[in-house]
C-alpha cells in the first residue's frame, strides 16, 4: 500500500479521488447536477490504526453547467475484515455555482402528478445515444448509483455507472418522486459489470435517497451463443 506523498497520476490517488466524486454526487447530485472528477493535483496516504487515511486536492467538474471547482478531501478506508463504506469529508470552492433550482422544480412538477408515469431503458443505448428527455433520469440514476458505488468502494476498486438498464416511475409518495432503477456498474479493476436494482426517491428539497438496494446475480445462463450470422 502506497504511503506518503502520492503521485497524482498513479492509481492510488485516482481511485481515492473517484470515491470523493461518488460522495459529492450523493450529497449534491440531482437530475440537473452531476459531478465528475477532472483532475488530481496532489495527495497523500497514511496508515492509521485499522484505517487508511487519504488527503487529496482535486478539481471536480459539474457536467451540466461545465463549472469546475477546487476541492479538498479527506477519506478514511476502513481496514480489517468489515465491509463498511469509506468515510469522506470534502469541501469545494466554486463547484456548486450553477443554480439548477428552476430546472429541478420544473422537472419535479412535471412528473409529480400520477397520471403519466415515466419509464425508460438502455440509457445510454449501444451507440452512446439518449433522448434529451431521458438525460435527467440518467443523472438521477447516476446519483443513486453513487450511493452504492461509495458504499462498495475500497482501495482496490474503481467504479463508474455503465448504463441505466431501465427505470420505472412509481406513485409519488410523501411528495417524493419514486422510481425503480436497474443500473449496470462497471468495476474497472475486475472489469466486471455489476447489476443493481434500486428504489430511489427524489425531490428538490430532500435530494436523492436510495431506499432499497438489491444486487442482481450474474446471469450465467444467458451466455450461450445465439444464432449470430452478422
Amino acid at each position: 500500500m502506497t504511503t506518503g506523498v502520492l503521485n497524482p497520476s498513479h492509481y492510488p490517488a485516482r481511485r481515492a479521488a473517484t470515491v470523493v466524486q461518488h460522495y459529492l454526487n450523493t450529497r449534491y447530485g440531482s437530475p440537473y447536477r452531476w459531478i465528475f472528477l477532472s483532475k488530481v493535483h496532489s495527495g497523500s496516504a497514511e496508515d492509521m490504526a485499522e484505517m487508511r487515511k487519504y488527503q487529496l486536492e482535486l478539481t471536480m467538474q459539474e457536467m451540466i453547467s461545465n463549472v469546475s471547482g477546487q476541492c479538498s478531501a479527506e477519506l478514511l478506508f476502513p481496514g480489517g475484515e468489515g465491509q463498511s463504506a469509506p468515510q469522506v469529508q470534502a469541501s469545494c470552492e466554486g463547484l456548486l455555482q450553477s443554480n439548477p433550482t428552476a430546472q429541478e422544480e420544473a422537472f419535479y412538477q412535471q412528473h409529480r402528478a400520477s397520471n403519466n408515469m415515466v419509464s425508460g431503458s438502455n440509457i445510454p443505448d449501444s451507440y452512446g445515444h439518449m433522448e434529451p428527455s431521458m438525460k435527467p433520469f440518467w443523472h438521477l440514476g447516476g446519483v443513486a448509483s453513487s450511493c452504492i458505488m461509495l458504499r462498495e468502494s475500497n482501495e482496490s476498486t474503481l467504479y463508474n455507472m455503465a448504463q441505466v438498464a431501465n427505470f420505472t416511475q412509481l406513485e409519488t409518495e410523501k411528495d417524493q418522486l419514486r422510481f425503480n432503477y436497474h443500473v449496470l456498474l462497471h468495476e474497472m479493476i475486475s472489469q466486471e459489470i455489476i447489476h443493481w436494482k434500486l428504489l430511489v426517491t427524489w425531490s428538490p428539497e430532500q435530494g436523492v435517497k436510495v431506499l432499497q438496494t438489491e444486487l442482481q446475480p450474474k446471469c450465467h445462463d444467458c451466455e450461450a451463443p445465439p444464432n449470430t450470422t452478422n
Binding site: N7, S9, H10, Y11, R14, T18, F36, L37, K39, M63, S121, N122, P124, D125, S126, Y127, G128, H129, N160, A162, Q163, L184, H186, M188, I189, S190, Q191, E192, I193, K218, H220, C222, E223, A224, P225, P226, T228, N230
Partner: protein, 362 residues
C-alpha cells in the same frame, strides 16, 4: 435492430462519406469496408487473413504501404481485442482512412508509406465484437467466445490476459466466469495465437506495436507486472509523454502515461507485454475516451474528436519509430565521418607542429 439495419443500407454509398467515420459499424460493414479500401487503393492496400477465431471466423488485417522490392520495416496496430470497446475499431478505420487520404500530399506520411508497411487489424476479437452487437444485453461483452471447460459453464477468455508474457501471474482470474479469466493456459485462444504467430514472423521488422482499447484516456507502457521494467522504460515514457502532449493539443484532453501497474492496475498476459518481450522496442496500449462518464458506450458524436486526438498520438509514436530507424543510421554515419575527418586534421596538425619544431631545433 432498426439502427444497424439502417446503417447497413447506407454503408455501400456512404463509405467514402465523412459521415461514415462518425458512426459505429458492425462486423459485416467493417468487412465490406476493408474490401472497399483494397478496391479503391489497389497499389497500396492488401489484406491478409492471419488466423481464425473460436467460431471459425477470419481474423483479417490490412497491409498498407507503397510497394517496394526489398523487405520493409513495419508498424503494427490492432483494435477490438475487447469486444465492448467499440471506439477502438472505429479508430482503426479512421487511421486507415487518414493515411490513405494524406499519403499523396503529406510528405511525412508519404515517406513513411515508402519506408514502412502498416499492418492494421480493425477487429481482432471478431466473435466477441459480433456478440456485442447482438442486442442490448450483450453490448458489454469483453472476452472471446470460447466455451468454458472443466465444468465451468461461462463463456470467454480475456484475450488480453492470454498471451505468453508472464501469463497467469498477476491481475488475472482463474474463474472462467470472470472478465479477466486468463484461459486454461497461455495461448489457449486462437486469436492470441494468430497475433503471436504474426509477430513471431515479423519481429525483426516491427518498429512499433500499438494496441487500441477503451476507456480511461491512458497511454500504457510495458510491463504489466509491477516488478519488471522494460529496458527502454525511459524512452517509452519520453515518447509516450510527447504523444500525450500531441493528443492534448487537438481537443484539450488529458491522457495519462505510465506502466499499467502505476496508473491503472497490474496485469499479465497482455499483447503489449508480449510484443515488448520479443523485442519490439515501442509497444503501447492506448485507452481512448472517456474517463467513465459514458465509458464503453461513447456517444457517436465523440467518435471524430476521439479519433483525431488518438491519431495525433499514434502519428507521433510512429514518426519517432520511423525516424529512429531511418535517420539515426544516417546520423551515425555522418558523425563517424566528421570524427574521422577531425582526427585526421588533428593528427596532421600535430605532425606539422613536430616538423616545425624539429626544423627550429635543427
Amino acid at each position: 435492430m432498426c439502427v444497424s439495419m439502417y446503417s447497413a443500407v447506407w454503408s455501400r454509398e456512404e463509405t467514402t462519406e465523412r459521415n461514415y467515420y462518425t458512426r459505429y459499424h458492425n462486423m459485416s460493414e467493417i468487412t465490406a469496408w476493408m474490401e472497399q479500401m483494397k478496391r479503391e487503393n489497389p497499389d497500396v492496400v492488401s489484406s491478409m487473413v492471419y488466423g481464425q477465431t473460436y467460431e471459425r471466423r477470419n481474423i483479417t488485417l490490412l497491409k498498407i504501404g507503397l510497394s517496394s522490392t526489398g523487405r520493409k520495416k513495419a508498424i503494427w496496430m490492432d483494435c477490438g481485442i475487447h469486444a465492448r470497446e467499440w471506439i477502438a475499431p472505429a479508430f482503426c478505420q479512421y487511421f486507415v482512412r487518414e493515411i490513405l487520404r494524406t499519403y499523396k500530399t503529406d510528405t511525412k506520411v508519404n515517406e513513411m508509406m515508402k519506408n514502412l508497411d502498416f499492418y492494421i487489424t480493425p477487429v481482432l476479437n471478431v466473435d466477441g465484437y459480433i456478440y456485442s452487437w447482438h442486442n442490448e444485453s450483450t453490448r458489454l461483452w469483453r472476452k472471446s467466445r470460447s466455451p468454458g471447460t472443466g465444468g465451468c459453464t461461462c463463456y470467454g477468455t480475456d484475450i488480453n490476459r492470454n498471451f505468453y508474457a508472464n501469463w497467469g501471474m498477476v491481475g488475472v482470474s482463474t474463474d472462467c466466469c470472470s472478465q479477466t479469466y486468463c484461459g486454461t493456459k497461455a495461448l489457449s485462444e486462437s486469436e492470441a495465437r494468430a497475433v503471436t504467430d504474426m509477430l513471431g514472423k515479423m519481429r525483426e521488422d516491427i518498429l512499433a506495436f500499438l494496441t487500441i482499447h477503451s476507456y480511461g484516456q491512458l497511454l500504457l507502457v510495458p510491463y504489466g507486472h509491477p516488478n519488471i521494467s522494460a529496458p527502454n522504460y525511459d524512452e517509452l515514457m519520453e515518447v509516450g509523454l510527447a504523444a500525450a502532449t500531441a493528443i492534448k493539443a487537438v481537443h484539450g484532453m488529458d491522457y495519462t502515461v505510465g506502466t499499467s501497474p502505476d496508473v491503472l492496475y497490474a496485469n499479465s498476459g497482455s499483447s503489449r507485454d508480449f510484443a515488448r518481450l520479443i523485442g519490439i522496442p515501442l509497444s503501447f496500449t492506448f485507452e481512448l475516451r472517456d474517463k467513465g462518464e459514458h465509458g464503453f458506450e461513447l456517444p457517436e458524436d465523440q467518435i471524430q474528436p476521439t479519433c483525431e486526438e488518438a491519431y495525433a498520438g499514434a502519428h507521433h509514436i510512429i514518426t519517432y519509430a520511423h525516424d529512429k530507424a531511418f535517420y539515426s543510421y544516417a546520423a551515425t554515419v555522418t558523425a563517424t565521418l566528421w570524427t574521422t575527418l577531425l582526427a585526421a586534421w588533428v593528427s596532421s596538425a600535430i605532425l606539422l607542429t613536430i616538423i616545425c619544431l624539429y626544423k627550429k631545433v635543427k
